[in-house]
């Protein structure tokens, strides 16, 4: 025990001394050229393959690079790739890396690194798995080139590599060889910033410094593509869970960038001359009501249609967002209104609520007043508010609703349970998704209707799966369009989930912060402090 306490004291002293030394080594000029950002969550997991958490994805964009990246029209553009050749039969993609790419440890980025990273990503990511299903092999050609050989035509290869959420970040081969079920701890990347591990204080602060050896592309930055020019010496992420404190820190100038200011405060922030509100996400966020397709009444499409007939999106948005400038009154697209795939075909009957029709459909689906278990996450204000709006609409329609309050962590594990709703399962929960990844039928995770292999709620419709596969095989926009409309009509019949509105979450920055990119997610290249 004595040794243990000795060890504890020595460790504590060492930690404190090291933290002081690390701080002392930062010159004043560098501190002035540090972008201080309040992020939306606590960065704890550093491996973007191990988790789909947004915060890990944003961290990964700082330190890693991707082979392709989406531009503002959501087209895949070469990023680490110099270019590619596609064989005449569309089955072989040969991708060549740009010259001069280096990892943070100084070693060159090789095709072997890209191949190992792709293999690891394809084992875990939803879109990666779809790519793996149609891929025969991913092999190195030489140090700068590799080939993806497909078993059948699949028009989504470049879209998959460029998808903004959970893309294939390129890691050194030695790191990417870690099994996908094990978290990597080595953060060597080749991105525009370097993770400063010794200054990482989980739950408080994450520090990045500019990568002096990064070779940006020559094109101007456009969404997530183009030249990633790091214009600040350091980016310091602060995790301040209390939003009022974060707002006060922004007002006082202690921080430069607030990733997710509360939507109720946007109007008042806009009146402050020292602060600018920047909309970085053209598509925004979409709310969704997920019924459990495994159990009655929602195993019957008529009950899911009935649920959709109860939803007036504007009611949800008024409560969840408040500011009408930040939301649309109705969005009937499963693929984000405003995106290239944002068709609303099939949504016509659901534009206005129809309680009578809903009651009739519930009756036809065999619903007879049994309690409907709705999961309510009390520690997520927006989800909580949306849940309460839904519950009120359901009760108004005469449904017997059993609202079960819990924290988000409990909800996450509860919703993964396939148990009967009255024995630890559920009927309904609400969540959100968004961005270009949602705009693509095969990468929209909640649109996946592969039954047992779908996300919680287990939407199940083989016809939709086939239609999405048909759409994915094509790479031509004109050929895809009619398939997309068929998919959309079918989706409004089987209803994998009920959309409850689309809104934007702008960021707030100090007036001296310039160059904030509309990249869909917060990225920190291109930004300077003047």
């Amino acid at each position: 025990m004595k040794t243990f306490f000795k060890k504890a004291v020595v460790l504590a002293s060492l930690t404190m001394a090291l933290s002081s030394m690390a701080e002392a080594q930062v010159p004043a000029a560098t501190r002035a050229n540090t972008l201080k950002v309040v992020v939306h969550a606590n960065l704890q997991i550093l491996d973007p393959v191990w988790t789909t958490a947004f915060i890990t994805g944003r961290h990964s964009y700082l330190i890693y690079d991707t082979l392709y990246a989406a531009n503002s029209r959501f087209e895949p553009k070469p990023q680490m790739a110099e270019g590619h050749e596609i064989s005449a039969d569309g089955l072989v993609y040969r991708i060549r890396l740009r010259e001069g790419l280096r990892f943070h440890d100084g070693t060159p980025v090789r095709a072997q690194d890209a191949v190992a990273s792709l293999r690891r990503w394809m084992a875990r990511d939803v879109m990666g798995q779809q790519m793996a299903a149609v891929t025969a092999s991913v092999e190195t050609v030489d140090d700068r080139s590799f080939e993806i050989r497909l078993k059948e035509r699949w028009g989504m290869v470049l879209d998959a590599l460029a998808k903004p959420s959970n893309p294939a970040f390129i890691m050194p081969e030695r790191v990417a060889q870690t099994p996908p079920t094990t978290q990597v701890t080595d953060t060597t990347g080749s991105g525009p910033f370097i993770f400063v591990r010794e200054e990482w204080r989980p739950g408080n602060r994450v520090m990045y410094r500019r990568n002096p050896d990064y070779v940006p592309r020559q094109e101007p930055a456009d969404y997530l593509s183009g030249g990633k020019r790091a214009l600040v010496e350091r980016v310091e992420w602060l995790y301040i869970p209390d939003q009022n404190t974060a707002l006060a820190a922004l007002n006082s100038g202690e921080i430069d960038y607030f990733e997710a200011p509360p939507l109720d405060f946007i109007a008042s922030l806009q009146r402050n001359r020292n602060i600018r509100i920047v909309d970085i996400d053209a598509l925004g966020t979409a709310g969704l009501i997920r019924p459990n397709h495994l159990y009655p009444p929602f195993n019957d499409a008529r009950a899911r249609q009935a649920l959709a007939h109860l939803v007036r999106q504007e009611d949800f948005m008024r409560v969840v967002v408040g500011n009408p400038a930040l939301y649309s009154k109705f969005c009937g697209s499963f693929f984000m209104c405003g995106s290239g795939n944002g068709t609303e075909v099939g949504s016509e009957p659901f534009r206005e609520p129809n309680v009578e029709r809903a009651r009739q459909l519930f009756r036809e689906a065999g619903y007879n007043g049994e309690p409907i278990v709705v999961l309510q996450p009390t520690d997520r204000p927006q989800y909580n508010a949306a849940t309460m709006v839904l519950v009120q609409a359901m009760r108004r329609a005469g449904l017997n609703v059993d609202v079960q309050a819990m924290d988000w962590s409990t909800l996450l594990s509860r919703r993964a349970s396939r148990n009967n709703p009255y024995q630890g399962g559920y009927h309904i929960f609400l969540t959100t998704h968004g961005g270009p990844t949602t705009a693509l039928p095969p990468s929209n995770t909640w649109f996946n209707t592969r039954c047992d292999r779908a996300n919680p709620g287990w939407a199940c419709d083989e016809k939709l799966v086939e239609l999405v596969a048909d759409w994915s095989r094509e790479s031509d926009a004109a050929t895809r369009r009619p398939i997309l409309e068929t998919i959309h009509r079918r989706a409004w019949e089987v209803i994998p989930y009920v959309p409850y509105g689309q809104y934007t979450q702008p960021v707030a920055v100090r007036a001296n912060v310039h160059g904030v990119l509309a990249a869909g997610i917060p990225v920190y290249w291109n930004i300077e402090k003047r």
Binding site: L11, T15, T51, T182, P202, L238, I240, A246, A248, H433
Partner: protein, 313 residues
Amino acid sequence: MGNYVARRIFATIPVMGVVAIIVFLMLRLSPGDPAAIIAGDHATSDEIAEIREHLGLDRPLLEQFIRWLGQLVSGDFGVSIYMEQPVLGLILERVEPTLALAISTMIFAIALAVPLGVIAAWRAGSWVDQTIMALSVLAFSVPVFLIGYGLVMGFSLALELLPVQGFVSISEDPIGFLQHILLPTVALGLVYTALLARITRATMLETLNEDYIRTARAKGLAEPRVLILHALKNASVPIVTTIGTGLALLIGGVVVTESVFAVPGIGRLTIDAVLQRDYPVIQGVILVIAGVYVLVNLAIDLTYSLLDPRIRY
């Protein structure tokens, strides 16, 4: 004395054992799944199951408990499920801000509360006494977060005198340390000042009615000497008890203040770990806090003998 201390320390072993069992069972039997949180919002049930298996959370409860107990015996608190860093290191990183806040709060509270309590007792029933007691009721009743936001509005945003949030190590920048610690200290300290002032007043009132106080006054001793040397010293046992338990409470319970002022202390670590079901971190923090309670109580008991020679161990 040595025997007594050894006996007390030895007696903590079963206490910590019981704490360990209760904490482990409460966490594992309460709803929530770290694997679902790690996997993220877009994960499928199969991916969640894979992570659960990787973390060993699918193993029988007894097996998990024995493995954790085995680690504890060798001084290993385990590794955070999320950060994959040793729990002990994570706790030690957070000790300085919490300890600094707890100590500064106690210094603030003692410096303000003891004189106020003594004066209130000395002038019992007068307007001075009533004002002090009314203010202490007010300080005790207003929630800490409200005081915190009020201080930030006044001193940080309106007057621009002090920073809104954060913590700076004293070894790194003593002035910055004082600037950052001042507002949380006042916000938290006002509650403890109120509590301590009321305890001091109550015990002083009792002591001031004792015969030896009358004797001291009859001897012609100056009033400050009577109050401090005779009355306060004899009234100090309950005051020291309150200070000691207050300090232990502060180490484990400054969550709100740490959140309002973004102080990266033990409280924040605990709440983050609880929300994410990071079992090893929660278990480690609770064991450490339980250990602190035991040690602080021992220190309080030992202090009694210094303050009151009649108490012997």
